[in-house]
Amino acid sequence: MKQICDRAKKPDAVMDLLTTIYKLAEKKNFTGLFLKILVISMFLFTLQSCDLKLDEEVDHIPERPFDVAPGITDMHNFMSLDTLYFYAGQESTFDFKSDTSNKQILSIKIFIDNEPMKYTNSRLKFPVKPGIYKLKAEIYTGTETGSIANLADYERHLIEKEWTLIIYKIENFSEIQGKYSFVNGRLKLEWDEFPYPFIKEYQIIDPWTCPATHILFTRNNSIYDSTYWGFIKPFQINVITKGNSVLYWCQIIVPEIAPNISISYADSSCEKLKIMWDAPPYYDHLTSASLYISNNLHSISNNVRDTVSLLDFDQPFGKENMIYLRYKWKSFAEPKIAASKRFNYGNTYTPFNKDGQIIPVNNNVAIHLYPTWRMITYNTELVSTGDTLHLNEHFMVNLNLTTSPNGTQYAYVTNKGKIRTGLVNNLSQNIISPTILPGTTGNEELRISDNKIACIKSSIYTLKFYDLNTMQTIQLFDAGAEIDKITNMSSDAKYFSITFNNSDHVYKREDEAITKLYELQSQSGKSFLSFNPLNSEQFFYYDSQEFSCRNLNNSVINFSYPLEADKILHLDIANNRMLVAVGNNLCIISITDGKMLNQIPFSQDNPVGKSIGQNSILIGNKIVSNSLFYCF
């Protein structure tokens, strides 16, 4: 019980007052009553003054330990400088950090010319008036003494720093520009130069990333960027002064530069479709270009300046396809390429109506016979229609329609025993002969020469030669045996060949007489015989084992070589090649030396294989066979 009622002992003035009151009461004979009042008053006073007083203190008072102020750093390294440069009115981060984790910064006061500045969220707005100022920072940090004030965050270290502050301004600051261009396959950025000497360097950043990605520093006002390859890319140029302040300078946005992709429209049915695009101006950074068709990789070019790619024949391409050009991971699509039926592209296709039959005539023309008695010419290269001839006569399709060796004339036998002939390239210009074979069925075999001499099988034993120029029968020929087939007639009608008794017979026709030149034994029906339209004195012959070129008027064999073929389908003498069927392959073979030029597999499941027939011919780089074209 060491606490005592202190205040009760102290108030002497109060005691004096009470004494005075007592004396006054004594004079007035109110002593008893005032004594009661006095006692009550003293009691109440005592009550108020003798409440517990809390004023004890602890005894432990430690010495102040040694404690030094922490080092101060800042993101711009302002603390290491004496002069700072800021643009007039610029607002900048002015942030400081303590290098001692237990002595963090508690408050910062900034003064410019001793005037306290508004400093919130570590940002400071600098004066708008250019000039030289004195900038001062008072940085208060915590201590590490462990004292009460320290632990209660009331103890501080004060670190002061002063700078010379230079506020500058630039005329037409808002008009500062940057531009981009491509030089030697690289992106070049240029911008207006900072006009003051206190520039340290330019900083280039990507402002669209968060945080902004630093790209590089440079002292020049232009850079080459090798990282750009087509995609949209922004560049922000900042000026860093010698006072380490950062000033936004300008922004350059390089747009997406996509290659202009186009596709060629082939003139020829067998020309490969060609996809072309512009060489990228930023090729320096690219190592390859990948071409995708409908998300499938078509080709990769390791030279990005190669800007053409050919579609393979087996590459289908149509309306559903989309072309993409990909550099690295970036794809550039070309959606504007309009698909058309010409894009129904492949190694086989049917350019004509499937009804009826196509009879190849020469390298340019085919004749389409419709069951509805129409005959149409087609340009086989452009796949376009030519003349149309409506037939009045009933005839068996393909059985007796023939063309001259040079492909300019056509002729067929009508069901009334007449011959209608005309020009292939002008079907309507035709003439009809008088009745040559009364009572005919229209199935008779017919051959026609370039000079319009017709050879018609007039009976099973005889041939009739008819001049369609003069409309007169000029010769009759009795073979003396049952004729199997008229195999060929030369372009000048001087020679013809027929087959009977399993032999090929070659005849020379003169005005007075018809002379047999050759009788060639054929085996198993595989033989082939054709006069050479380029040399009227030669013919080609295949006897199922050997292919040869022989002279007509002597027995000289110009060349021969063994050949294994099921059937010779067409001789393209002008291009020194022939089309033969061998097993499940179509082979293109050099005529003069029998060298294999091309081999095209097919089967009965293959539409090519199904359509192979007597009339298959070679035209350019395709095989035309009935209604089917095959490109190789």
Binding site: F43, L52, E57, V58, I148, A149
Partner: protein
């Protein structure tokens, strides 16, 4: 509430005085041994929450109690009213070269009520009473937290808070009175004080229950005030 209690006591007092034989005016001083368990616990929690070394220098000790009482004496029984005031407090203190810190909690209890004293024995003019009392208590707690920094010579008030509360209290005990003269007597008492319905938490939960003991100086006013004199 306060008004109705005042009226109640005024009516009681008037009734007692108008019928009493003698009027006892008692003035007591004693010690209050208050329990204060909730307040002590709160002070401990505060001490542990401080980041620096500190100590409890006052932990709600027993402290003086003062009482004024007016009773009507009917020989075998006395009826009266009383007013009591008691105080205690807690203090946390910390001090070093940098600062002087303290956290004071002052607790004041002003209670007034109605008492009954029942005479159960009298030996040589010394009367022994059983005391029963009930009334209202008005509790006040004042929290004052300050830190004085020597470096800046500045006082920082960290917290200043004052809360008040009211509730019912009761007391029961023994009262022994020895009449010295016709108008003066002295007495001693031992009471047990408690608050039956007070359940608040924190410093306001200062449970003032506990023993009270002290001495009383009584002025006995006779039935007629004219007969009153300070000396026999």
């Amino acid at each position: 509430m306060k008004k109705s209690i005042f009226i109640f006591f005024a009516i009681c007092l008037t009734a007692i005085i108008s019928n009493a034989q003698d009027l006892h005016l008692g003035f007591s001083a004693g010690l209050a041994f208050a329990n204060m368990e909730g307040a002590r616990s709160s002070l401990e929690n505060k001490l542990h929450s401080l980041p620096y070394q500190a100590g409890i220098t006052d932990n709600f000790p027993a402290w003086f109690e003062y009482k004024a009482e007016m009773s009507a004496d009917f020989d075998m029984v006395m009826f009266g009213v009383y007013y009591m005031r008691s105080s205690t407090g807690g203090r946390i203190s910390a001090k070093d070269y940098s600062a002087n810190y303290f956290y004071n909690v002052e607790m004041i209890n002003n209670a007034f009520g109605f008492s009954t004293k029942l005479l159960f024995d009298e030996i040589n003019k010394t009367r022994f009473f059983v005391t029963l009392g009930i009334g209202q208590q008005h509790l006040k707690s004042i929290i004052n937290e300050e830190m004085y920094l020597y470096s800046t010579k500045r006082k920082t008030i960290l917290k200043k808070d004052e809360t008040e509360g009211q509730s019912i209290h009761a007391l029961a005990g023994l009262f022994v009175e020895k009449r010295l003269t016709t108008n003066i007597s002295v007495a001693a008492y031992v009471n047990y004080y408690f608050s039956p319905f007070y359940t608040e938490s924190g410093y306001r939960a200062a449970n003032w229950k506990g023993f009270r003991s002290g001495l009383t100086f009584c002025i006995i006013v006779p039935e007629s005030i004219k007969n009153y004199s300070i000396a026999e």
